[in-house]
Symmetry: C2
Subunit: 339 residues, 2 copies
């Protein structure tokens, strides 16, 4: 019983009155008789009763809560972002609650409603692939709640933003394939609703143009998860359109491509090299391990939280900014790296 | 401009008054003059102004929010649980907010405070390894907020619970090694603060006893992530204590063991078989793929949410229950499966 703490219920039970009477007596509520109040106070003192911290924090007007909306928490990239956000916000006495939109625009709208009704002081958001109507973002701004977009931004909504140079990073990824000697390059692209998908395709095309290689439309296909990566690779193999290098929009798609190539005994990287994007955990431990772009999710989350806190604390009255987080090519065994 | 919706700000700008005056005028607030109120109402009608859904939902007293606290969202198991919770709660008109304790007891206490101050109607929680003091759980109960524990429960706090039979599942996992012909079995165990770790060790020991195999204490070591799995395997190899079967407390530890065995050219499963626990994504795609226990996170989350909703809606006045979710052994290539 070393850590025993008396509660309102204990006092109520001992005095044979209701917990709400005890609570009101302790607050000096006028409905409670002098006699009851004194009895409660005396027993509270004897039992060393302390009002609990949770109840106390509820009485403050600031919520100290920041809301985060991400498409899917299962991705290592998003959980790294959340770690970065948590580290900065907790240092500053803020707590975060996370909502998952699951790539559903409808769910995202509910997430925003939930966060507003939770009295968050600011919102950090990465939008879904599906979102094409933006009035819920406008609602946040109209409610005077500061908002910062990260990674997947919304060009029509003007706020602070934290992104990477997706086009530049994709140029570097594609260049790594070209420098390894690949001449027929494929790109497995993401959903065209997302700016990041369009930018990654742009970087791929720019690299081919820069190195005077042909852009073959039959080798640019939509595939953005393991199953699609597998299926599209199998299709290219069966159509005799096998490329010697594939740059995919993310790592799970790269893994799907590698599994399809293995199925047909096509050697990675000797016959076909593969480069992914994001540096998910899987890309370090797969066989072969996957060359990819590290996006520094932790730093992105930290920076986004920093921009948001400045707006919440009115320390930033400047125009909205777009911050770029540097990326890095990580060479692993799915490319030849002979340059 | 097809989807253009007039806002309070538009009305305010056009009439040269403040948005809060417009807002109060629309609500018929007595501080607002009749003249202003009529002007606002007329313009609101002309502009087809609709009060936004978010503001409306704030006026309701029920928050319709359920809070979820998990140790780490990056694990596939926890994100599957969250999917199960979301599917049931959203069908019932509830939204969820997620907090991550990051295995820190201090953070977990803040998570609980945050959820209470967000006016959640119920809490679903899986505790950290570190939590040894339980007064924050008691606070939830004292605040009359229904709470359900899942996976990592707290024996001292009586609530509804959803768990798996960790001991039984570990018996099955160990039995799979024994039936494949393994005779010298190691167990890489988890943090002893957690009941699930103690139960998994219990199942391992029970299986050895049942099949009359020796329980060697030198082969039972603490290792619960990739790095520890790698290091402990390397230690066993270097001490000439190589087992022929390893059962690990989770899949990342199994992967660490496999990587260490590969480093020393020890063949998996021919020389050493490995069984993990949880069925993380990585165990399907690693080389070799990992035999493991599927915990059905989705079903666990769904059931936990169901129990919580019944308490919230007062449909369940029975005693608290502990529900078990069935598990399943998934045979892959890290075991011989020759039985």
């Amino acid at each position: 019983m070393k850590n025993y703490q008396a509660t309102i219920k204990d006092i109520a039970r001992k005095l044979g009155i209701s917990p709400s009477t005890v609570s009101r007596a302790l607050k000096g509520h006028p409905d409670i008789s002098e006699k009851t109040r004194l009895a409660v106070e005396e027993l509270a003192k004897a039992l060393k009763y302390k009002p609990n911290a949770i109840a106390l924090s509820l009485r403050k007007s600031k919520s100290n809560i920041i809301g985060v909306v991400v498409p899917q928490i299962v991705h290592h990239f998003f959980s790294s972002i959340i770690s970065g956000i948590e580290d900065l916000t907790s240092k500053n006495g803020y707590n975060i609650v996370i909502c998952q939109s699951n790539e559903s625009a409808e769910r995202e709208i509910k997430n925003i409603q939930t966060l507003i009704s939770s009295r968050v002081e600011g919102i950090l958001i990465s939008r879904t692939k599906e979102t094409t109507e933006f009035s819920h973002y406008k609602s946040v701004i109209e409610n005077n709640i500061p908002m910062v977009f990260f990674d997947r931004v919304c060009p029509d909504i003007i706020t602070d933003r934290v992104i990477i140079d997706d086009s530049g990073a994709s140029f570097t990824a594609t260049e790594c394939l070209i420098k390894s000697g690949c001449k027929r390059l494929a790109h497995f692209k993401g959903h065209e609703n997302l700016l990041i998908s369009r930018k990654r395709l742009e970087g791929f095309t720019k690299a081919l143009n820069y190195y005077s290689l042909p852009v073959e439309q039959s080798l640019i296909v939509k595939a953005e998860n393991f199953d699609e990566g597998f299926a599209e690779t199998e299709k290219l193999i069966n159509s005799n359109l096998i490329p010697d290098g594939i740059f995919t929009v993310n790592d799970m798609t790269a893994l799907g491509a590698i599994f399809a190539l293995k199925k047909y005994n096509i050697k990675v990287p000797e016959q076909v090299s593969v480069v992914g994007f994001t540096n998910e955990i899987i890309s370090e431990y797969s066989e072969p391990s996957i060359t990819t772009i590290e996006q520094h999710g932790y730093e992105m989350g930290y920076k986004a939280a920093e921009l948001l806190l400045k707006r919440i604390l009115n320390e930033n009255e400047n125009d909205f900014v777009t911050e770029f987080i540097p990326t890095k090519l990580i060479l692993r065994n799915s490319t030849k790296n002979n340059f």
